[in-house]
């Protein structure tokens, strides 16, 4: 318990040179979720940022050690809840790799389409939230209108809107909805029409450009050294798309470009995500008409037991490279499971790139890193 004098001492927390220590979070409108940043300021200029994590730490790694290989997949939806499909895919791929389960083509195609839809949904939400961080409220609603179509598709096929748990080792939990293809096509049509609105409202806006250009510049060397991945690293000119490097599911059968910008500032991180959405649409367009008929789940044993050994599976989530590392002792539960979450590494770069900028720039920088706090804390 704090007593009265402690609080008084704490609020007048002035540093040696008149520095001001400001807490951003855990309950703060700009830190989506419960990220706690202790920001040391000199006037409006940031001198140091120290993240305090753990407000939503659920020890998913420890939980998974007591869950079977069928059960642990649903927990991973709760890590990076905006790309839960992709998390589930990573775990399913890993179990399939560990047991040499054959996955039917149909399941692979559907998984890829759903993964790309999830990526679009995640980026849509990010655009809205990012614009909101910078003070523009309206793009949030426009972005959510398109995202709503995706969640409707998910609801039809998977039965849930956010934490689907649709992907199981060996394929899919049940077959796709009969209207799946028509709905996805309707979404693609609407998305192509409405994506220009973001250009008008956000991309071309002079205020937005001046808020993000040259802000939070991350060099390619630093991006690699800090372990950044996904759009954050690609905006700095680092080629790191797992879909290209180690293709999984049906990614080796589609054509798409890896978006790379070289500036490394907040604006190029923004551009990478916007262009990535168009690439995702391109992938979906190639696959949606060619979903092969057949089984949606491969033959699996009732009780899944991974072979003894170590397995590592990388996938590209909306935020970057998600790695799942499993040490198996041959039992029904993993001996040790580690999730290499993209947000954790991307967050560690925040202090480096936001130092010396204004407090308003911190919002732009933090917004473009696209942090999802349950992903960081796990």
């Amino acid at each position: 318990m704090y007593n009265q004098t402690d609080i008084i001492k704490d609020t007048t927390n002035l540093g040696p040179e008149g520095e001001l220590v400001v807490n951003m979070g855990p309950q703060h409108p700009a830190t989506h979720g419960v990220l706690h940043l202790v920001v040391t300021l000199n006037g409006e200029t940031i001198k140091k940022i120290e993240p305090h994590l753990g407000y939503i730490h659920r020890s998913i790694e420890k939980m998974c050690e007591s869950l079977t290989y069928r059960q642990f997949i649903y927990v991973t939806s709760r890590m990076d809840y905006l790309s839960s499909h992709i998390n589930n895919t990573a775990c399913a791929l890993l179990v399939e790799k560990g047991m040499q389960i054959e996955v039917p083509e149909r399941a692979k195609f559907v998984r890829t389409i759903l993964n790309e839809l999830t990526r679009i949904a995640s980026h849509e939400l990010w655009i809205g939230a990012m614009a909101m961080d910078l003070g523009a409220f309206t793009p949030f609603f426009y972005a959510f209108r398109e995202r709503e179509m995706i969640t409707d598709i998910m609801e039809d096929t998977c039965g849930a809107r956010l934490t689907m748990n649709y992907i199981v080792p060996g394929g899919l939990m049940y077959d796709i909805h009969p209207e799946f293809q028509t709905k996805v096509k309707a979404f693609i049509k609407q998305f192509k029409e409405k994506v220009t609105e973001y250009e008008d409202l956000v991309t071309g806006n002079i205020i937005f450009q001046s808020r993000t250009k040259g802000v939070g510049v991350l060099s390619a060397e630093d991006a690699i050294s800090y372990g950044c991945s996904g759009p954050v690293a690609r905006a700095s000119g680092v080629s790191c798309d797992i879909r290209k490097i180690a293709p999984y599911d049906a990614y080796d059968r589609v054509e798409f470009d890896e978006i790379i910008e070289t500036e490394g500032d907040s604006f190029s991180r923004y551009l990478v995500r916007v262009k990535e959405m168009n690439q995702s649409i391109r992938i979906i367009e190639q696959l949606i008409d060619n979903i092969p008929e057949g089984e949606f789940v491969g033959k699996t044993k009732n009780v899944l037991k991974l072979n003894k050994g170590e397995f590592y599976q990388r996938v590209e989530t909306a935020r970057g490279e998600l790695g799942v590392y499993i040490v198996s002792e041959g039992a029904t539960t993993p001996h040790r499971i580690k999730f290499r979450s993209p947000g954790f590494s991307n967050l560690s770069v925040l202090d480096h790139i936001a130092k010396g900028s204004k407090i308003g720039d911190l919002m732009a920088t933090m917004g473009t890193l696209d942090l999802v706090i349950p992903d960081i804390d796990r």
């Binding site: 649903y74 927990v75 039809d156 039965g159 849930a160 939990m173 806006n205 002079i206």
Partner: protein
């Protein structure tokens, strides 16, 4: 030319702002673009996806019979102990003892709606219903017994 750059700067800036204002102005004047759903008012016409995972239910037919054999496959499949099955032994007319469920206890407050119990069930005794209005004033009401009182297992289900 400094002055020329200055004027083009101002002009480009203002035109980019006007473009944004035109977009928001369009939506202000076009009321039919409004997309929000009036939830409690549209309950009568509200249509949920038929696969929507709202809660686990156990369907009973008109004779108050279900198909649950009490094999506890769902209990084992559940990742977080939501389901608890209490079994009893019925005496069949032939005088043989037969295993049957006494209570299928389902704790909604712990359920993550992951659908694993449904896929694990060998006799399709449970399914997901689309009901999503779960709020109650007392937490104990979230612990439900799914089999109806007096119900028994359907003939021919092993």
């Amino acid at each position: 030319m400094f002055l020329k750059d200055y004027i083009t700067d101002v002009f480009n800036g203002v035109s980019s702002l006007l473009k944004g204002m035109r977009k928001t102005g369009y939506y202000f004047t076009h009321g039919k673009e409004i997309i929000t759903e009036q939830y409690p008012d549209n309950r009568a016409t509200l249509k949920l996806a038929d696969r929507f995972k709202g809660e686990v239910v156990m369907p009973h037919d008109e004779n108050n019979e279900h198909t649950c054999t009490g094999c506890t496959a769902c209990e084992l499949a559940c990742p977080n102990g939501t389901i608890k099955i209490i079994t009893k032994f019925d005496i069949t007319p032939e005088g043989k003892k037969k295993k049957a469920i006494d209570a299928f206890i389902y704790r909604l407050e712990m359920c993550t709606l992951c659908n694993l119990c449904i896929t694990a069930c060998p006799s399709d005794a449970i399914k997901m219903s689309a009901n999503f209005e779960h709020s109650v004033f007392d937490r104990s009401k979230l612990t439900k017994v799914l089999n109806k009182p007096g119900s028994k297992i359907k003939e021919g289900i092993e």
